[in-house]
Symmetry: C2
Subunit: 489 residues, 2 copies
């Protein structure tokens, strides 16, 4: 290596980590503001925990915790303790609640938002850093606490930009399937987990594929073999019948579930919880079009102990039927997470919006929360001699609440206009020698100019008529811009 | 180890990482919203880069980069590339600008906020994760670009809650001291850096301590010896005279600086830049009470190449004199950061608010941006039989924009009132059997109740009179609460 040649790193993002520009950020911030406002209206207080937790405090609760690095970004501190970046906002809440339990108001209701990190294989649209926005109630075993979480999810979806009919929250209860499996004689936790994982693939594989995974196993198209849960034929059909018990109305579904699980202490407990959730949802005014019971919902995380929730965006297919456009959040009851620290079971329930996912969904549905961002008004810099005057104009506009800037590069007029276009500026302001002499300012309406340049026949004609360009008295500039900005809002 | 006894991790924060509760977050969010609004008004667009950068892209620009781990949290990705968490928002911007230079509007003006991480020794009030909020202009060499950055810092301080007279931005230029050192025959970069570090300690050590560090070296009280920059007596006094050249007015200071640096090409260039910044600050309406030239300002970061800025909060001492209450932000011109990637010098300048520091400063000054957070209205849960009615009341209040919740624990009346107090609720709502029968609701004003309980002689009397408790018709609840909330706002 030549010492005289300096090292030049390549400017690139780490794999699976993206940059977000103004438009995406506006959408994301709009979602966070709307959902936070809902959470606060329900009496949840803000909390922010750090990016790092000690690895032992995080535990091993990720869906693919069988991978060697457990899906987290971990490192050792200089005292040799392992720390890891949080992979969700729930595990840090459990740590916080256990640590401060004595002094917290109970039940403790908090919301939180921020990035989480997963050390997973990146892919197109699959990032290793993304934003979540959660609300949780710690210290209440009441089904009403679950119902409230669901009601907030429903209201949050609407506030974020998915109105009624474009989203639904699906509700299930882990105890139902557990009860059914107990009745069917399935004993080990490992086997139950295998059944959960099989049911979780229902969307992707359909009932027949899931039947194979519930039984001996399944060979997929690529030749990979997945060992099955080892249920017998009767058990398999009982599970499939259970997952298909979803009906239109909430009480019809509960009846169908009752028939499908066939009676067991744990199953009945789960059913009673769902019934109580249904009653509370009624009291909270959450209609059957916005929250449904659906026994096919599983949720990947192992730590759920009772009700689980999944929020799905809906879209109309060709026949007008509303079909799922993907999950935009989920949650459930997890009564054991705080107990990991304290040894005492502490009931808890919560919901997490996948904010990045929700923003992408809204973008795909051609909705842009936060609106299309416009750039600032650009004051053209003709001459170094008059910079103070340009700055005075920009200051005046800013003081009137109009974003504005003086062009600060070294390029000429044409490049400055191109710059204003790239910034999506609504107007360029020109104070050339002529304008200064006349006590005037020229306003160039860049949208009009663009439209005219497309329709006018020749460049010459364009130059002559100067479409979208108007002169106003210097003192009337702010009023003129306000009027023009107002009329297009 | 006994296998039957499960492992219980201790619930604790990693060293140097704190949790932030509602009050602190409200302050922080209020600062971010105010400062972002200023940045946007100046035409800066939002950008968010990921937490991680490749280590080679971050470079070694931290003040204490002589430590072995270079002050960052780093780990290897599964393809063996080193990644590190960003330690500021400037290095990621340089990477982003180099990566996207062709397609960016130029000059590129962006603002950004978010956490940064420093792997430093934690201490009281010294965290390893904190929030910064930056604005930078990349691609403009004009001193007007620096002036604009300074104007935004000044306006941002005011928007964040430090009005005129309670904050000042101090401006210096690295080229001045460099020019002075060249004239004094100081050649090596290492020696120049040693001089900068010595001057940076002026606040802490005073001129005599700095004289030692500029010369042979200094033995501190703990017995540690710091090798000096090795200047001769004449050079030492020239540097000290330079740092003391700050005067009241901006132009007086520039005259004093001109006299102190005694002429050199680089020094004259630095002086001309400050002069141009002064003119532009005038055009931007930034008065001499809010931005001053101060040759004692250094800024720790090595990458600055010209003007440097430091924002200080001010407080009145006993004599009424305004003294520094600590740095709350800083910045400067860094023309070489993008060149690290591209090989082409790209002029850039920016400013960074230390948001966590600013929030702590405002708290210490008894100002709480975002206001004192009040909790939600709490609907007392007397009986499971009437939960639906409690929920209906809470829903009504929320629909009217009043944060509200139903108590969802299992405790009795007294604990529920204590809960409401802990949440800093303004009101508790009671629907007991009596109220339900009468079609009424009882409102308990918790502030009034608290005040009365302190002043009343006996607990018995308190029970009889029920201070701060009022009955209203069920249908008039929302209107009654709105009126009471309004009258105390």
């Amino acid at each position: 290596m030549d010492d005289a040649k300096p090292f030049r790193p390549e400017a690139r993002n780490p794999r699976g980590f993206g940059d977000r520009r103004a438009r995406d950020l506006a959408a994301e911030r709009s979602i966070l503001a709307s959902v936070s406002e809902v959470y606060e209206r329900y009496g949840f207080e803000a909390l922010d925990t750090p990016a790092f937790e000690y690895a032992d405090a995080l535990g091993k609760f990720l869906p693919d915790s069988d991978r060697p690095n457990e899906g987290v970004f971990a490192l050792t501190d200089d005292d040799d303790q392992w720390m890891a970046l949080r992979y969700d906002l729930t595990a840090p809440l459990a740590r916080f609640a256990a640590q401060n339990w004595e002094t917290l108001p109970k039940p403790f209701r908090r919301y939180a938002y921020g990035p989480v990190w997963r050390n997973e294989k990146p892919g197109p649209g699959r990032f290793r850093e993304f934003i979540q926005c959660d609300a949780d109630t710690v210290g209440s075993a009441r089904p009403e606490a679950d119902a409230e979480i669901i009601a907030m999810a429903v209201e949050g979806l609407e506030a974020a930009g998915l109105p009624r009919g474009q989203a639904v929250v699906k509700i299930n209860n882990r105890k139902l399937l557990n009860g059914l499996l107990s009745t069917a004689g399935v004993g080990s936790e490992g086997q139950k987990l295998a059944v959960l994982r099989a049911v979780d693939k229902l969307d992707r594989l359909g009932p027949d594929g899931v039947r194979l995974l519930l039984g001996e196993g399944r060979l997929d198209d690529s030749g990979d073999y997945t060992k099955g849960a080892g249920l017998g034929a009767k058990g398999i059909e009982a599970v499939i019948a259970f997952t298909a018990a979803g009906r239109g109305g909430r009480s019809e579904t509960l009846d169908a579930i009752a028939a499908a699980i066939g009676g067991s202490a744990e199953g009945d407990e789960g059913l009673a919880e769902l019934q109580a959730i249904g009653v509370a949802l009624g009291g909270l005014g959450v209609g059957e079009d916005r929250a449904v019971f659906d026994p096919s919902v599983v949720r990947g995380l192992e730590y759920y102990t009772g009700p689980v929730f999944e929020a799905e965006a809906l879209i109309e297919d060709e026949t007008g039927k509303r079909i799922s456009f993907g999950s935009v959040g989920g949650g459930g009851r997890y009564d054991d997470l705080v107990a990991r620290f304290t040894g005492e079971r502490t009931p808890a329930t919560g919901f997490s919006f996948g904010v990045s996912r929700l923003a992408a969904t809204l973008r795909a549905a051609n909705r842009t929360p936060g609106g299309e961002a416009r750039g600032p008004v650009v004051v053209i810099a003709f001459s170094q001699d008059h910079m103070a005057e340009y700055f005075a104009v920009a200051s005046e506009l800013r003081a009137a609440g109009i974003p504005a800037e003086v062009y600060l590069g070294q390029s000429g007029m044409k490049a400055q206009m191109k710059y204003a276009d790239r910034r999506r500026s609504p107007f360029a302001i020109m104070l050339g020698e002529d304008e200064l002499a006349a006590g005037e300012v020229s306003i160039k309406d860049l949208d009009e100019g663009l439209a005219a340049s497309k329709s006018l026949a020749s460049n010459e004609l364009w130059k002559e008529t100067r479409p979208g360009q108007y002169a106003v008295k210097r003192a009337e500039l702010v009023a003129a811009l306000k009027q023009r900005l107002g009329s297009r809002a």
